[in-house]
């Protein structure tokens, strides 16, 4: 029964997502395409965090670093578009953003994954702070103020400067990656990852070099977050260290929890709910944080399994 309901909601939601630009245009509310662009991009970021947080049990408190470096990769390549290595082509910039983010995740993960528990939380935070201060001090790229991009990346036949096209690109990326993640968590690799979350010691005793598996998951997650960052840079046509601020990492965690940790659709729900909440609350009162704060505590205390969990009260995390 609940399973049917969940299916209806999932497919209905998907249909709605696909039709949204037309609906919004029909109602003359083009702004909601922009808003949903942001939601979907942050959903992508939250999804990447969910892979290591929800499926791998790695509480990374520095995920903003990958989001930020992905954005900066696109920004810096565009900034140098006259130089031999510069480019405004999305077909180069987006993979480059993923690659750079993956390399950063490899370096940070290789060190951080030697620790666990609170130490892991704090060392990932420390690395993210290092990346934050690194970009704050890059005067050429605007330092604290960030840098403006002249236009969105050039995606050949697809005109990214059109919000609706941009929306479909982001939606397409998100759906493809969601499906990839759906396959991944059910694959041999995913089984190992989930096993590590359940009981790493047991997995080692079974003969799994858990460190390597965690590191690979960490790198995949970083790369996808880098892609989200690249899209974020394109959406705002602006890159700045505020994308790397530690509170961003916190917000991404909130989205994952809010939507439902270790679920496929959870991060989308989480990102949507968080941004709508932020938007609605901040329009009601200047002191909206005083509502949001306790709300977060309440969610943690009461709705432990997130919004997706409400649809599926007893189901196993999938």
């Amino acid at each position: 029964m609940l399973d049917i309901l969940r299916r209806i909601v999932l497919w209905g939601g998907l249909a709605l997502l696909c039709l949204l630009p037309m609906l919004a245009e029909a109602l003359g509310e083009g702004f909601y395409i922009t808003m949903m662009n942001r939601v979907l991009i942050l959903a992508l970021a939250a999804m990447s965090l969910n892979l290591i947080l929800g499926y791998g049990g790695m509480v990374s408190f520095g995920h903003a670093a990958y989001l930020g470096i992905g954005a900066y990769t696109v920004g810096i390549l565009a900034y140098h578009s006259d130089a031999w290595f510069g480019t405004e082509s999305a077909f180069i910039a987006l993979p480059a953003a993923m690659l750079v983010a993956a390399i950063l995740a490899l370096a940070i993960g290789a060190i951080s994954l030697r620790t666990s528990g609170v130490y892991f939380i704090m060392i990932t935070l420390a690395f993210a702070q290092m990346v934050y201060f690194f970009f704050v001090s890059q005067q050429e790229y605007g330092g604290m103020d960030g840098m403006q991009m002249w236009s969105r990346s050039d995606a050949g036949p697809i005109d990214l400067s059109d919000n609706a096209s941009f929306y479909y690109v982001v939606l397409g990326l998100l759906l493809v990656l969601l499906y990839a993640k759906y396959r991944l968590v059910r694959s041999r690799f995913g089984l190992v990852l989930r096993g590590i979350r359940e009981n790493e010691r047991r997995m080692k005793a079974l003969g799994f070099p858990t460190y390597r598996y965690k590191l690979v998951a960490f790198v995949i997650s970083g790369a996808v977050a880098g892609l989200a960052g690249a899209m974020m840079a394109n959406l705002s046509e602006f890159v700045s260290p505020s994308l790397l601020h530690w509170t961003r990492s916190g917000e991404m965690m909130v989205m994952v929890i809010l939507g439902g940790m270790g679920t496929i659709a959870g991060p989308i729900l989480g990102a949507l709910a968080f941004l709508v909440l932020e938007d609605v609350l901040s329009e009601i009162t200047q002191h909206w944080m005083i509502v949001l704060g306790p709300l977060l505590i309440l969610i943690v205390l009461v709705a432990r399994r997130g919004l997706y969990g409400l649809l599926d009260p007893k189901g196993e995390p999938k």
Partner: protein, 290 residues
């Protein structure tokens, strides 16, 4: 760098170090005993400073401000512990991070509503407003020396509390073996509340001591919070001794980093230090749990 300047910078490093120790001691105890990662520890620092400043402005006395703010912050801490945080002890770190992240948002906004968005003023106690020549020719603010002295005194008191008293025995036992405390027939809930209150009071003390030097503003807790985390993690979670050593280490490293290194690298000094130490010793310098 001349020798005199060097001595002065060491003092500056010590002063930053003892401030961090006051913050880190409470946090590491809460980490070690209750297993709680509390992002809102910085909020208690902020509340301590604001309350003390308000009382000081009303009464004209720094000391009265201090004496009122400490118990107020302890009570706020204990109330938060009983209402919300207690339920988080059995939860994983992720839940704790999120809930206490929510607490930060709440307290920041609360302070903004009560005291306004502008920076708030806290005066220096008159007695300590001058300078002292630590070495002839090097005047050093008396108040900063007082901070160092207070910090060291608190460190000694904490040491005595933990090693010589019954509650200290329970704290030590709690940090290494939670079941044992249960087995001793102690009211664990009350012990936890008391420890949390103690941690809150220490954080508030740091905030009050910092008040006359700094602007009191919303968000002041977060800038010291992350440094405090670094200290706790370097020292080894749950170890007060580790927190002390790490606090001084971070204080000195940060001070000299700022003076000697270009700004871009100086800002990263302590994070690099932390990463290096964790690579070398993944459990920090003095791990409390064997």
């Amino acid at each position: 760098m001349t020798l005199l300047l060097f001595v002065e910078q060491v003092l500056n490093g010590l002063q930053l170090g003892v401030m961090l120790f006051l913050m880190a001691a409470g946090m590491t105890l809460v980490f070690g005993i209750m297993g709680l990662i509390n992002l809102a520890h910085g909020s208690l620092y902020m509340i301590g400073a604001y309350v003390a400043a308000t009382v000081q402005q009303a009464t004209g006395s720094f000391l009265v401000g201090l004496l009122v703010a400490l118990p107020v912050a302890a009570l706020v801490g204990m109330a938060v512990e009983m209402i919300a945080l207690r339920r988080l002890y059995p939860r994983d770190h992720l839940d704790q991070v999120l809930a206490t992240f929510g607490l930060i948002l709440f307290f920041n906004e609360l302070v903004k509503i009560v005291w306004g968005p502008q920076a708030y003023f806290m005066a220096m106690p008159d007695m300590l407003s001058g300078s002292v020549d630590i070495i002839p020719g090097i005047p050093y603010p008396a108040y900063r020396l007082a901070i160092v002295a207070t910090g060291l005194a608190v460190a000694i008191l904490l040491y005595l509390l933990i090693t010589r008293t019954r509650i200290g025995m329970l704290i030590r036992a709690g940090a290494t073996n939670r079941e044992m405390v249960n087995a001793l027939g102690v009211n664990v809930d009350r012990l936890y509340t008391i420890v949390f209150g103690l941690g809150a009071a220490l954080a508030a003390l740091a905030g009050i001591m910092a008040g006359p030097i700094l602007a009191l503003e919303v968000g002041m807790g977060e800038s010291i919070l992350i440094l405090t985390f670094v200290v706790v993690v370097i020292g080894g979670i749950g170890s007060v001794r580790g927190a002390f050593v790490a606090a001084l280490l971070v204080g000195i490293a940060d001070t000299f980093g700022r003076v000697l290194l270009p700004p871009a690298i100086a800002e990263m000094t302590i994070y690099i230090l932390m990463a290096a130490i964790l690579v070398w010793r993944p459990q920090g310098l003095f791990p409390a749990h064997a």
